[in-house]
């Protein structure tokens, strides 16, 4: 076995090895960098882990493919088949801008929640299953710090997913139909830069929904050591909420569903922006974030890590 690099002392110098006198604990090591810098380093590592995973790269590819497929489908369809109506899809033929919006509306129901479900399955259940969770905890990473880092990474990953859909939609729509000033649902016209700004707000609104779903996902991820189980559970919960939300007889339940106010993102295309539904949507998101992050902490803080 090669000898140790002399410049790299693997062990503490003997002075430090001497045990502390009873009752007087040896000084804890001092951080080399500030707490924030150290936390950002962990977050960067977390993001790199998430993005270097082939499956996640493929997932991003699928998210980006949907708007491209939609744009091509509309382009090659017979123009006489185009339905006139209020939907974004029908507006695509006149303005590529609407590819991005139509794709977000389509993907918010299944593809984006599924992406969140996969990432949250990996977050804790995945690390528990392959055993890397115990490695992190004995480094040590404080459990609260790990939970917060995992959550922030999920939110950033969600944002990236939504952004990829919007950008792919703009690119595909721009190439096939061109980007023009946008006619709002209120009948006015928005200059393209203003419309792009509105699109960014839509992206953030959808991200807020996924952030709430991520909190739920992180909680589920603390319950099991089976990442696939956590993923399936989150996908089922999300899909069930979308289904329940379409049943009029359950109107009393709708305000409690996370998904109820999500299609309100179309209100961003009114002039001026119509906020009440989206405000309610954001409050629902926030309630889900608070409840499920607390539940995740309650579960994870004392959990025996024996996997």
């Amino acid at each position: 076995m090669p000898a140790a690099d002399p410049a790299f002392p693997t062990t503490a110098v003997p002075d430090e090895v001497a045990p502390a006198a009873p009752g007087v604990a040896a000084a804890a090591p001092t951080p080399a960098t500030s707490g924030t810098a150290a936390w950002l380093r962990l977050l960067r590592s977390e993001m790199r882990l998430m993005l270097s995973r082939r499956r996640n790269q493929a997932g991003l590819g699928v998210l980006a493919a949907i708007p491209v497929v939609m744009a091509i489908a509309v382009k090659i369809a017979n123009p006489s088949d185009q339905h006139q109506g209020e939907s974004f899809l029908s507006s695509i033929i006149g303005n590529g801008y609407f590819v991005a919006l139509a794709a977000l509306v389509v993907e918010i129901g299944l593809f984006l929640p599924l992406a969140v479900a996969m990432l949250s399955g990996d977050a804790l259940a995945g690390e528990a299953q392959i055993g890397t969770l115990r490695g992190l905890l004995v480094v040590p990473v404080a459990r609260a710090r790990l939970l917060v880092t995992k959550y922030v990474a999920l939110v950033l990953g969600s944002f990236l997913g939504v952004l990829v859909v919007a950008v792919a939609g703009l690119v595909a729509g721009g190439v096939l139909f061109g980007l023009h000033p946008v006619a709002t649902l209120s009948g006015t016209t928005l200059a393209l830069p203003v419309a792009l700004w509105r699109l960014l707000l839509v992206v953030l609104y959808v991200t807020a929904f996924l952030a709430a779903l991520s909190a739920l996902g992180l909680f589920v991820s603390t319950l099991t050591e089976q990442p696939l189980g956590a993923t399936v559970a989150v996908a089922i919960i999300s899909t069930t909420m979308w289904i329940l939300d379409t049943i009029p007889q359950l109107a009393w339940l709708h305000p409690w569903l996370l998904v109820d106010k999500q299609v309100a993102l179309a209100d961003m295309l009114r002039d001026p922006v119509y906020w009440p539904s989206m405000r309610l949507g954001l409050l629902t998101d926030l309630a889900y974030v608070v409840v499920f992050l607390l539940a995740a902490w309650a579960r994870f803080a004392d959990k025996d890590v024996s996997g």
Binding site: P2, T10, T11, P19, A20, A28, S45, V138, D304, V305
Partner: protein, 309 residues
């Protein structure tokens, strides 16, 4: 001297099953402590409790003079650990896996990360495979990467759970040499194994677990001395042989059929043979049973290696 690791009445119950049953472990500072016991005897659960991964049902853990898991954030940066075999992300390289653990350490200096990571890889002989994906590592390489993870920063103590599990004899010897060299540098090391022979030579202290209980603990040489060297002689002249042995001062002389057994004590075996022959005793066969820790281990753990569940 404050022990590096001490437990008092440490107990863990999973449902109705008691995995660890009130053990009082004491690992002196600077020791290389062999933590032995058959699979399923509670070693790993004890280690998990010592490192704050699992909460004890009862009892206390004091690690480097501080209570665990209360002072976990102050204590664990001074302890390197490999718990229940290596665990890494299969699609990351060995180096990237270590970089991830280093990034998680709020006390580690990011400016020296590359040098420390490669230093740790070098120390376990994995530098040549640094860019290879963990998935492609052999079991021995995986174990060594696990040890490298414990060596990323200078440590006062190392806890290595089954570091030789699955290694070939060459790999086992390398890990043993690494433990020995770290031990001479003053690092306190707890090394667990279900195979005594793999760690016996490097340990200054031993603790033996059996079905959740600590059945022996102490300095390795003292434990070894507690078992005496015996001798078994095959001869047709049983009575004469027993008389010679008693005259030489051997104890516990017992004869059965055509063999005599006795505890050798301080008597040299060649002196015994010469005296027997000189006294006209026909020596057909003489077997000396040296005090082997292995036998003590089997005695202590009862049924043998993989029993005890």
């Amino acid at each position: 001297m404050t022990p590096a690791l001490a437990t008092a009445g440490l107990t863990k119950r999973f449902g109705s099953q008691t995995a660890v049953d009130g053990i009082d472990l004491e690992v002196p500072s600077g020791a290389v402590y062999g933590f032995l016991g058959p699979n399923g005897s509670g070693k790993t659960t004890t280690i998990r409790m010592a490192l704050g991964l699992v909460r004890p049902t009862a009892g206390t853990v004091t690690l480097l003079g501080r209570p665990m898991p209360g002072d976990l954030r102050e204590v664990l940066p001074r302890v390197g650990a490999l718990v229940e075999g290596p665990a890494f992300h299969p699609y990351l390289s060995g180096r990237a896996n270590l970089a991830r653990l280093d990034a998680a350490d709020r006390y580690a200096d990011p400016r020296t990360a590359r040098r420390r990571i490669d230093g740790a890889l070098d120390r376990v002989g994995l530098l040549h495979a640094a860019t290879k994906r963990y998935r492609a590592y052999s079991l021995g390489m995986r174990q060594r990467l696990g040890i490298a993870a414990a060596l990323l920063v200078p440590r006062e103590m190392l806890v290595l759970d089954e570091p030789t599990n699955g290694l070939d004899p060459q790999g086992t010897r390398e890990v043993r040499q690494l433990i020995a060299s770290l031990g001479t540098e003053g690092v306190t090391i707890v090394v667990s194994s279900h195979l005594l022979s793999e760690v016996e030579q490097v340990c200054t202290h031993l603790g033996v677990m059996r079905t959740g209980r600590l059945v022996a603990q102490g300095r390795a040489d003292e434990l070894r001395a507690s078992r005496q060297t015996s001798v078994r002689l095959a001869t047709p002249d049983v009575t004469a042989a027993a008389a010679v042995m008693e005259r030489l001062g051997l104890t516990g002389v017992t004869s059965a059929g055509e063999s005599v057994t006795a505890v050798l004590g301080d008597v040299a075996s060649e002196h015994l043979v010469a005296t027997l022959v000189g006294a006209g005793v026909a020596v057909r066969e003489l077997v000396v049973n040296r005090a082997r820790l292995e036998d003590l281990f089997i005695e202590l753990t009862g049924e043998g290696f993989d029993a005890g569940r």
